[in-house]
């Protein structure tokens, strides 16, 4: 019988599919019986989704890179800036 403490400890391994079959079955048995852990698993997954959205994962890169940045890098390399 798994406790909630053990459930949380093995949560990432479960989600990464790293648990052996027997442990996975025990984990899922607890998941079905414990509403708190069911919510915890869901909100843990949502947390990962939220951080990715907030940090712009999958967003296209900025189309217009600041020209002053390009010029600063060229200057730091000792290269003349591009003609405007």
């Amino acid at each position: 019988m798994l406790t909630c403490r053990e459930f949380v400890e093995f949560l990432m391994a479960y989600l990464s599919d790293e648990l052996p079959a027997v442990q996975r079955a025990v984990f899922e048995e607890h998941l079905c019986a414990c509403p708190d852990c069911c919510c915890y698993l869901h909100t843990y997954e949502v947390t990962v989704r939220i951080e990715k959205i907030a940090c712009g994962c999958g967003d296209p890169p900025p189309a217009d890179v600041p020209e002053d940045l390009i010029r600063a890098i060229l200057a730091a390399r000792g290269q003349p800036p591009p003609q405007a």
Partner: protein, 196 residues
């Protein structure tokens, strides 16, 4: 490596100025997005992009073509951002233990766990996304860095361990704790009835 990329690398190795500018214009947008994500500060992000391109130019002879030029530059940009993260002045951090769930003697969670609704609508606003990024900034640095490299930059566990000089096990532990800590920080913003 694509034939056009091979040619570009050859030109870079010969110190060709226009080739460097081509490299810069092709990849700087993506690298700026990377350093912005990692540093959450525009000035630091731009400085890290500059550091990354200058490092790449100096190291171009060591580019072996096993990965694409873009992948190689991504790694250099991540390193440049990590260097800035290590050196910049940090605000006081919470201890990770304060942010992890607590349990009773019988192993049950101390507090009831409440569900969150789908956050997609709330995250439409830049203000809400910025609030989440501020919570990520509140994480202790050792944990935040692992979370950023694994979840945000998509590096695998082994690469993250190599970059940070950690064992694979330590990366896994830190990532799991960082996610749990961030979940705790987000709870009051996202839980269903606001009573969490």
């Amino acid at each position: 490596m694509q034939p056009t990329e091979t040619t570009l690398v050859e030109r870079l190795r010969h110190g060709d100025g226009p080739a460097f500018e081509e490299l810069l214009r092709t990849h700087s947008g993506r690298l700026l997005a990377v350093t912005r994500r990692l540093l959450n500060n525009e000035e630091d992000a731009r400085d890290a992009v500059q550091d990354a391109f200058l490092s790449a130019f100096r190291a171009i002879d060591r580019f072996d073509g096993q990965a694409s030029l873009g992948t190689w530059l991504h790694r250099i940009a991540v390193n440049a951002a990590l260097t800035r993260l290590r050196t910049r002045r940090r605000h006081p951090e919470k201890r990770i233990e304060e942010l992890l769930p607590t349990f009773q003697d019988d192993g049950h969670q101390t507090r009831p766990v409440r569900d969150w609704p789908d956050p997609s609508a709330a995250l439409q606003s830049e203000e809400a996304r910025e609030a989440v990024r501020r919570h990520i900034e509140e994480l202790p640095a050792d944990y935040r860095t692992v979370l950023l490299l694994r979840d945000i930059e998509g590096l695998d566990t082994e690469d993250t361990a190599r970059m940070l000089g950690l064992t694979v096990g330590a990366v896994k532990t830190r990532l799991h704790r960082a996610r749990q800590a961030l979940r705790t920080l987000l709870e009051s913003d996202f839980c269903e009835d606001g009573s969490c």
